[in-house]
């Protein structure tokens, strides 16, 4: 009877109830959605690079180095000379290195000059190797391997010729038109910045700059693509390199040795540590966002309470009738509580459905535009805690109108004030 009364009473006031439900649902979708995307972003973020013990670049802050070497954000302050790179690669503790040469772009996507070691040693997520969706790693000087997103967005297929641009703008006025590259491979999606990268060989990078100096073509000196192949294409400098060690135990020793390297000022960072530090900075924003959505939820709950409190006036008759037929004041208290719990439960259910639909809808968009791969399962054990907490908060706030009902039941008795 209690449930039937609560249900029918809510239905009787469906206009205001639906609005309350709507505001509750929206705030719950916000809360659950932001919480989910936050977790997914964190895992996506910390998964960008794994298996690499050190990243080495010219002396700079560790975040700067991390940002340009891993996330392709910003620029290096200085380069690392090829001689230094070769010398450090021969360190007995170092198992492998991946040279990284940045600075060019293709239609807004960064171009990374590297070697075959990249496809062999680079790992992301939980030690996953790069997989080819199509084609093979680059072998020739003018071969290019595209990240999944680059190929998808620009509609490139194997065999396509692409022209690299100097600098990193989406629109560039100085292009390496004379030396086009051929797409030989397309990587499978990774959800990391790799997807947004065009990979070429270090020799390719060297070749397109062979007739350039100080960031501009040298006037009066043109070297054709074929001529360049005949020349020495050993790079003079690279931007940074990734290092894999024989033993993890040696990490700090090797890091110190590189940091104290006499020949050139270098910085070696532990990517895991730097990623965590970077995420901590972003985490502030993330926590603020979560806090704001929590406040939105509180506002919605308070709104619900206000609506209920306002409705208590028009429901005096209902309450007096229930008292007359034998309802105790506590019955009226629980009637209001039950209404609130019903409302909140319905709001939670509908927000879960809405969230799933929304995630399903934006999943491809996020993956395509931001390289953010979100799973379609936003619910975990923690969601149960959330649900419990929200119900508890709703019940707590519902005590206000419920106690009003209880008190009125005692003082007004059977009189109906009209």
């Amino acid at each position: 009877m209690l449930i039937k009364l609560a249900r029918l009473s809510l239905w009787n006031r469906r206009g205001t109830v639906l609005l309350t439900l709507l505001s509750l649902t929206i705030s719950l979708v916000l809360l659950l959605g932001i919480d989910h995307i936050r977790k997914e972003a964190r895992s996506s973020f910390t998964n960008t690079v794994s298996g690499t013990d050190l990243i080495v670049g010219a002396r700079s802050g560790q975040l700067n180095l991390l940002l340009y070497s891993v996330f392709r954000i910003g620029n290096a302050t200085a380069n690392v000379s090829w001689a230094t790179y070769e010398r450090i690669s021969r360190h007995p503790q170092i198992a492998w290195t991946i040279p990284l040469s940045l600075g060019d772009s293709h239609r807004g996507y960064r171009v990374l000059g590297t070697n075959q070691g990249y496809f062999e040693h680079f790992r992301y997520a939980s030690s996953q190797q790069l997989q080819f969706a199509e084609g093979v790693p680059f072998a020739g000087v003018y071969d290019a391997v595209l990240g999944a997103e680059v190929a998808k967005r620009l509609g490139y297929v194997l065999g396509q010729e692409i022209v690299l641009a100097h600098g990193i703008g989406a629109v560039s006025f100085s292009e390496h038109k004379d030396k086009p590259f051929t797409v030989v491979g397309i990587l499978a999606p990774t959800g990391t910045p790799v997807d947004q990268t065009v990979h070429v060989s270090l020799e390719g990078i060297e070749a397109i700059h062979i007739d350039w100096q100080q960031g501009a073509p040298m006037p009066g000196r043109q070297v054709s693509a074929e001529q360049a192949l005949e020349m020495d294409l050993t790079p003079k400098a690279i931007t940074a390199f990734m290092v894999g060690l024989n033993s993890r135990m040696a990490t700090f020793v090797v890091q110190r040795q590189i940091n104290e390297f006499r020949g050139e000022p270098l910085t070696a960072i532990l990517p895991g540590v730097a990623l965590a530090e970077l995420w901590q900075m972003l985490g502030m924003v993330e926590n603020m966002l979560l806090l704001i959505t929590l406040l939105v939820l509180v506002a919605a709950l308070v709104g619900m309470m206000t609506t209920l409190l306002a409705s208590m006036r028009e429901r005096q008759r209902e309450m007096a009738i229930l008292r007359a037929v034998g309802a105790s004041p506590w019955y009226l208290f629980w009637l209001i509580q039950l209404e609130v719990l019903l409302l909140t439960s319905v709001a939670m259910l509908s927000s879960a459905v809405l969230l799933l639909a929304a995630l399903w809808g934006v999943q491809d968009y996020l993956a395509a535009n931001y390289g953010l791969f979100i799973s379609l399962s936003p619910f975990s054990l923690q969601s149960l805690y959330w649900a419990g907490g929200i119900l508890a908060a709703a019940a707590l706030l519902a005590c206000v109108p419920a106690l009003v009902a209880y008190r009125r039941a005692l003082t007004d008795g059977l009189s109906i004030r009209l």
């Binding site: 239905w11 209902e318 009738i321 007359a324 037929v325 059977l414």
Partner: protein, 230 residues
Amino acid sequence: MTTKPKFPAIELKDLKFWYQPGGWQLAIPKLSLSSGQHLFVRGASGSGKTTLLNLLCGITVPNAGEIWLNGMALHQLSASRRDKLRASEIGVVFQQLNLIPYLSVLDNVLLRAAFARAPAAAMQQRARELLTALGLGDNYWQQKASQLSVGQQQRVAIARALLTQPTLLIADEPTSALDADNRDAFMQVLLSEADKSGTTVIFVSHDSQLQRYFHYQLAMTALEQGVVAC
């Protein structure tokens, strides 16, 4: 119908009630009605009618004195016991707006059964019989209460009040919203159905024309001064 012979249906002894000590007080030295005896209480609004009704229903308890309902000491029971007792032993009919508008006619009548813990099937049966006897046939049962006329609503209220065959039926100006024809019809069905249920009716009204339906009368103005009534 069977009567409840042993005890008076309702008995008040030296009843006193006040909101603040030394202020206005309601005093009834003695009032006793046996089963089937109906009482007309006459008084203008503000004369303490509502207070008396709340006392008789067990919503409030007297500051002094005793209220016995069919041999049970209402003044000694706990609040929750009084609520349960009201569900089964006391029916109430208000001035108007007796029904919960979003429930069907039948559900409005059966509302009582849920609190009285009475067997559902028997209550269903009785609700249908009562409604039919009160001139509300089966085509009304599933209608929303708000779709009925005022006169029909008041008759549904009688059905609900009498559903559990209570000892006492308290009616608070139930005819004030009715026209003369409806009023007389209402009085007749109320009293005849109450008689069939063996229920004692306490009828409160300022309309002295209705006195003729009752054997016993009580004027509220007399109570204010603490004068013995019945």
